[in-house]
């Protein structure tokens, strides 16, 4: 029989997270700190709007790009928060989660097989590299450094750019490190981006979750809107992961082609979610604020706990992750995470699941109640103590 599979797909490594998931799921009483989604339920008024839309029988397709009312709300939101003006009719596409936008954005922009390069700063979310490969690009990894608090510097960017470079992925606020890029950081790289004439795919799905001033989008900087695909969505800000609601805003000519792929592959984002999304954008600011306050309290708690343990960790100001360094124990991230799970029954994700530069780090999510985090940190302190004793004994 002929091989039914595409080599390109088979060659993609399965996500490192998957492997770890299989071990964890066999442990019944493990505490997990490994989740990349909010612990809050979607605020009731948003859920209610989804239910209401079903009751009214809004169960048909919407236009390919999504409900106009929703696209208009997104434009208002972008102007209100970032001062960026988008045209609702031509510059916004509602997608099935931010993930779809990453995929079709790359497919709309890359000429397959021509060696066009996509720059991917890592550690970062697991989808960028496979999506770049599937789109026919050559992924080029930029290894971010702990000493820069995992921000992307202009020099790092400059060093990675070749005449084949087409897109820079900009994943901030960052999963898994919690790093943010502040305005000055963005201005520095924007200069390089414009000078070298490349495009940016800015994944700002965690944009509402920052704890040091408001998030700044690179698209708001002069000369950047016309070369940025801004990806955002409802999952993290409004605790709506299961609704699968994301969107992309960008230059008309790119959004037009993305909409074409979306039209053939997806048709339209789920209608119920779109109605709920309108309500979220109109009346959800307070919900975001409340959740952000709660995340920030937990973030402070974890930073304090690491300090007490004497564990090195830069202070992250975004998303809901901390990324402590475990290099002092002389093991790989995977070894540490596996032993931590087996001996203390706490699951945290090895940094290497997000790229080789995550080696020596651990992603700890604080999308959990304080009580749960407390128990987990007690166990972690005990574990760290034990490892240090072992090291001394050797």
């Amino acid at each position: 029989m002929r091989n039914p599979l595409a080599d390109q797909v088979v060659e993609i490594k399965p996500s490192g997270i998957r492997k770890f998931f299989d071990i964890v799921s066999e442990m019944k009483d493990a505490i997990s700190l490994g989740v990349g989604e909010p612990d809050f339920a979607t605020p009731w008024h948003i859920r209610d709007e989804g239910i209401y839309s079903l009751e009214k029988g809004h169960t048909k397709y919407t236009s390919n790009a999504g409900l106009m009312a929703l696209r208009e709300e997104i434009c208002h939101y972008m102007y209100r928060k970032q001062g960026i003006r988008y045209n609702a009719a031509t510059d916004v596409l509602i997608t099935v989660g931010g993930s779809e936008a990453i995929d079709i954005g790359m497919r709309a922009m890359i000429n397959p097989g021509q060696g066009e390069e996509v720059l991917i700063p890592q550690p970062s979310y697991v989808s960028y590299e496979p999506c770049a490969i599937l789109a026919g690009a050559k992924p080029v990894i930029i290894n971010l450094k702990a000493e820069n608090e995992f921000r992307l510097t202009a020099q790092e960017l400059l060093d990675a750019i070749t005449d084949k470079t087409k897109i820079l992925i900009l994943p901030f606020p960052n999963n898994p490190t919690g790093a943010i890029m502040e305005k000055e950081d963005l201005e520095a790289i924007a200069k390089v981006i414009i000078e070298k004439d490349i495009y940016v795919m800015s994944d700002e799905i965690y944009g509402e979750l920052t704890y040091k001033g408001e998030h700044v989008s690179i698209a708001s900087l002069p000369g950047m809107q016309e070369r940025t695909i801004l990806i955002n969505g409802f999952s993290k800000a409004y605790a709506m992961t299961g609704w699968r609601m994301g969107y992309a805003c960008g230059p008309t000519k790119i959004i037009e082609q993305m909409t074409k792929i979306h039209q053939f592959a997806i048709m339209c984002a789920p209608t119920t979610g779109q109605y709920a999304g309108i309500e979220a954008l109109r009346n959800g600011d307070e919900d975001i604020k409340e959740m952000r306050v709660a995340y920030n309290q937990r973030r402070r708690y974890l930073m304090h706990a690491f300090k007490e343990m004497g564990l090195e960790c830069f202070e992250p100001f975004g998303a809901f992750y901390v990324f402590p360094c475990i290099k002092e124990f002389g093991m790989t991230s995977e070894e540490f995470a596996t032993r931590f799970l087996e001996e203390e029954k706490v699951a945290a994700v090895p940094g290497t699941a997000f790229g080789d530069s995550g080696e020596g780090f651990l992603r700890i999510s604080y999308a959990y109640s304080l009580e749960k985090l407390k128990t987990a940190m007690e166990r972690m302190a005990r574990f760290v103590e034990k490892l240090r004793k072992e090291q001394k004994g050797q």
Binding site: F20, G34, V35, H304, L370
Partner: protein
């Protein structure tokens, strides 16, 4: 810090001072001072515990009573409200806009005890025109806490 502190202890007044300081990102002494200030300013009025008596073997009966009263010259509704709220069994008293004047919530050991209170004490007060008593059959949510069900964490254990 004040609002954030109050919002935390409104939900959990047992959190210790050190922990409050950590999650608020301030020093412990600041928390102590702020709590003291809130107490003396009458902002913090107590550190009660929320108990769902339905889960105990003790029988309690709750009722809400609408009361129409005649305001008194020079004292409005306050004087009569005070005569009512001084009763031990009265949990809360609100002055309400709309079809009646006071809304009273009451806790008693039995239907009879509440009935006796209404017929003997409340309705005989000078200035009370009428009462309407509603017995509570089930509490779904109280003080912002849902009493009927607990949500399980449905999330996968590990997600990217």
């Amino acid at each position: 810090m004040r609002e954030e502190l109050l919002r935390i202890i409104e939900k959990n007044s047992r959190m210790d001072l050190k922990e409050l300081a950590v999650i608020l990102g301030v020093e412990e002494i600041d928390v102590v001072n702020e709590l003291a200030a809130c107490e003396s300013e009458g902002i913090i009025c107590g550190y009660h515990t929320m108990i769902n008596w339905e889960h105990t073997s003790l029988e309690t009966v709750n009722a809400l009573i609408e009361v129409r009263i005649t305001p008194q010259r020079g004292q409005g509704f306050d004087h009569l409200a005070e005569r009512i709220y001084r009763y031990q069994e009265v949990h809360s008293v609100y002055l309400i806009s709309g079809g009646y004047d006071l809304l009273i919530s009451l806790e008693g050991k039995s239907l009879r005890e509440i009935s006796n209170f209404v017929s003997d004490k409340l309705s005989t007060l000078d200035g009370v025109l009428s009462t309407a008593t509603h017995f509570v059959l089930k509490k779904y949510k109280d003080h912002g806490t849902i009493l009927t069900s607990k949500n399980e964490d449905e999330r996968e254990l590990i997600t990217p």
